[in-house]
């Protein structure tokens, strides 16, 4: 009897405490953990990657490694992540192993060509005029410190995007206040629902738009190959401040995805040659990363993409402390047939007679005739002086009644579009950058230059300036100067920030406090860069003038940069 009573009591106690328990747990239910992985990952199968990374990134039964299997990014993204593992998480890894791991991860956890298209500028290290960011809140959360292109270069599961937010707060606590949260405005009504924090809006957008899986990636991964790029490639290039170059590059495969290269570019401006012996790697089946030693520029880095038909390469070959100098490069495989690359002419004027023009190409036939060279309506080749396989020298007449615009060149059915322009009058000029950023330097940091160009424009068929149909007639020689931008009285910025030369190269002043300046201020400031064109082919009798806004800032003391992906 005693025992039964005991058992009954303990049973009752157990039931009641259980009930209490349930109620308590319902009230104290933990919030959903948004960093808990719910999606399937991409298993890691490379033995070296597993060996070097698996110590910390645990494998599950599917072969997924924590974190890694739920992320995709560019070669630069993986290189940056690996460096962080070495610097902050105790990883020991030699450069050869790192290279192999970056290659593997770029291939199995990379971006498809369409996915990396919006961030080409970021990978090529140029400065665009604007960056397309969906909302101001996302700009605040994701672009307060670095470009939006940085997260845009990654694809992650929803959990991983949330972990990225945590990582930012962990490493850079102030990001919580500088970027992730709203400005601090409070709604007048304290009972109004709290607006979403910018970081929450950003995470929702990133999870939806840049998720781990996409049809682009599935399609690309399936058809990804390791093409042999050996052979000769014909090159068209432009160097801001110097103009067009034509040339060729010989590529030889060393091993899968690794090549030696030898390129020669010839300037149409003065005939000078640039030799670029180097090497390159192909990641993800289309991402070309190379480097070449080129006089007088030094180490020239190459970032290009291989086209879907594997017969074209396009991108940038750059150098400079801020990667501010570089050729825009287009390359195509040389084939057995005629190729037309382009011409040294940039813009030909209506009514011009007997203009001397050089045509560049490959396998130009010895029996080429003047009337076989088609330059579009109302532009006629009157004489063909000479032809060799890579160059033809011509004389050209342009009719008075020519429609302003770009022209293609066609020889026996082989065509290059947008090879040159024809125009009647230059209606306005525009500097290639509306705004630009230079950096003082010389003592601690190196100088950050800006190479300007001024382009002439025709109004186009609608005869209105600054509309979508305007025709860019190419660079013109202008008189460069700087002017004070009035943002502060008597700061005399233009006396201190640097100078622009006759070729449009802005050289910034030295870094550090300047004792000659009020408050010992640095040589920073904001100025107008002015271009003046006084040619006789303008629409108005007065010279054409235009301005561009230049900020000369302090050095960047820290650079996230991964040149290793293109060099050995």
């Amino acid at each position: 009897m005693h025992k039964r009573l005991l058992r009954l009591t303990s049973l009752l106690l157990a039931i009641s405490s259980c009930a209490l328990c349930q109620e308590a747990s319902a009230q104290n239910a933990p919030p959903q953990d948004v960093t808990k992985e719910t999606e399937g990952g991409i298993p890691v199968t490379d033995r070296l990657t597993i060996a070097k990374c698996g110590g910390c990134h645990q494998a599950d039964s599917h072969g997924n490694l924590t974190r890694i299997s739920w992320i995709r990014t560019t070669p630069e993204g993986w290189q940056e992540a690996i460096k962080r593992m070495v610097q902050l998480n105790g990883l020991q890894l030699g450069p050869n192993d790192a290279r192999q791991i970056v290659r593997y991860l770029s291939e199995e956890h990379g971006l498809a060509p369409e996915e990396s298209q919006p961030v080409r500028w970021f990978l090529e290290m140029t400065q665009p005029q604007t960056e397309a960011i969906p909302t101001p809140a996302i700009r605040r959360a994701c672009a307060s410190c670095h470009a939006f292109a940085k997260p845009q270069s990654w694809r992650r599961s929803a959990a991983e995007w949330n972990l990225l937010k945590n990582m930012h707060i962990g490493y850079f606590p102030l990001s919580q206040f500088v970027a992730f949260s709203a400005h601090g405005e409070h709604a007048a009504d304290p009972n109004a629902p709290k607006p979403k924090e910018p970081v929450e809006e950003a995470l929702a957008y990133l999870s939806k738009t840049y998720g781990l899986y996409s049809s682009s990636w599935s399609n690309w991964r399936a058809q990804m190959t390791d093409p042999d790029l050996s052979g000769r490639w014909l090159i068209t290039a432009t160097l801001p401040g110097k103009g067009k170059y034509f040339g060729a590059m010989t590529v030889a495969r060393v091993s899968p995805g690794e090549f030696t290269t030898q390129a020669t570019l010839t300037s149409i401006q003065d005939g000078s040659k640039v030799e670029l012996p180097g090497k390159s790697f192909l990641y993800t089946g289309y991402e070309w990363r190379g480097s070449a030693k080129a006089e007088p520029y030094g180490n020239v880095r190459q970032v290009m993409t291989l086209s879907a038909d594997q017969a074209g390469l396009q991108g940038r070959w750059f150098w400079g402390a801020y990667q501010e100098f570089g050729f825009e490069v287009t390359a195509q495989r040389e084939n057995r047939d005629i190729t037309i690359l382009g011409t040294d002419a940039t813009a030909l004027r209506a009514g011009a007679k007997n203009v001397q023009v050089t045509l560049y190409g490959s396998r130009l036939p010895a029996d080429l005739k003047a009337d076989e060279i088609r330059l579009g309506a109302n532009v006629t080749v009157t004489k063909l002086f000479s032809v060799n396989p890579t160059m033809a020298k011509l004389a050209v007449d342009v009719n008075e009644k020519v429609i302003p615009g770009k022209r293609s060149i066609s020889v026996r059915g082989h065509t290059v579009p947008d090879a040159f322009s024809v125009y009647d009058k230059i209606e306005y000029i525009r500097i290639t950058a509306d705004t630009a950023l230079a950096h003082t330097g010389g003592a601690v940091g190196k100088k950050g230059y800006v190479q300007y160009e001024a382009h002439a424009f025709s109004n186009g068929l609608d005869n209105l300036p600054n509309t979508a149909d305007d025709v860019d007639l190419g660079p013109v020689t202008v008189k460069w100067s700087v002017e004070e931008f009035i943002s502060h009285n008597n700061d005399n910025d233009k006396e201190f920030v640097g100078f622009i030369d006759s070729n449009g190269l802005f050289t910034p002043a030295g870094d550090g406090p300047n004792p000659q300046r009020r408050l010992q201020a640095d040589n920073i400031g904001d100025i107008w860069v002015v271009a003046k064109y006084a040619g006789k082919d303008t629409a108005t009798p007065d010279p054409l003038e235009t301005k561009s806004y230049l900020v000369v800032g302090v050095p960047d003391f820290l650079r996230f940069d991964q040149p290793e992906v293109g060099s050995k």
Partner: protein
């Protein structure tokens, strides 16, 4: 108001300022909405305390003069993680040889994480 002429430096400054408003950065960008924010060059940090390359008005007028005057604070608090080394994790010794930035700034380094 063309019959008025500036006769002292303050008036000249006002004239110059008014003249400059005609050519403000937006006028250059024809067709764009002039009510938008100032066109800050892409590449500048948008963290304005008061700013690294530019201040919130898109110029350099509001920045610390010289920047070195407040550089330690920029570094220690890591306001600009993409422009200035971070004190907390990667570069605890970045300012070790730079006790007074306005004098010792040459002892700083550019770092590549």
């Amino acid at each position: 108001m063309k019959h008025l002429k500036a006769i002292n430096s303050k008036a000249s400054r006002l004239e110059a300022e008014a003249e400059s408003q005609k050519h403000d950065v937006f006028a250059l960008q024809s067709g764009r909405d002039a009510t938008k924010q100032p066109h800050i060059p892409v590449g500048c940090s948008l963290a304005f305390f008061p700013g690294w390359e530019v201040d919130s008005a898109g110029g350099t007028a509001g920045l610390c003069q010289p920047a070195e005057r407040d550089l330690y604070d920029c570094y220690a608090d890591c306001f600009w993680p993409a422009q200035v080394p971070d004190h907390l994790n990667r570069y605890p010794d970045w300012s070790k040889k730079c006790a007074a930035a306005t004098q010792d700034w040459r002892n700083l380094d550019v770092v590549f994480p």
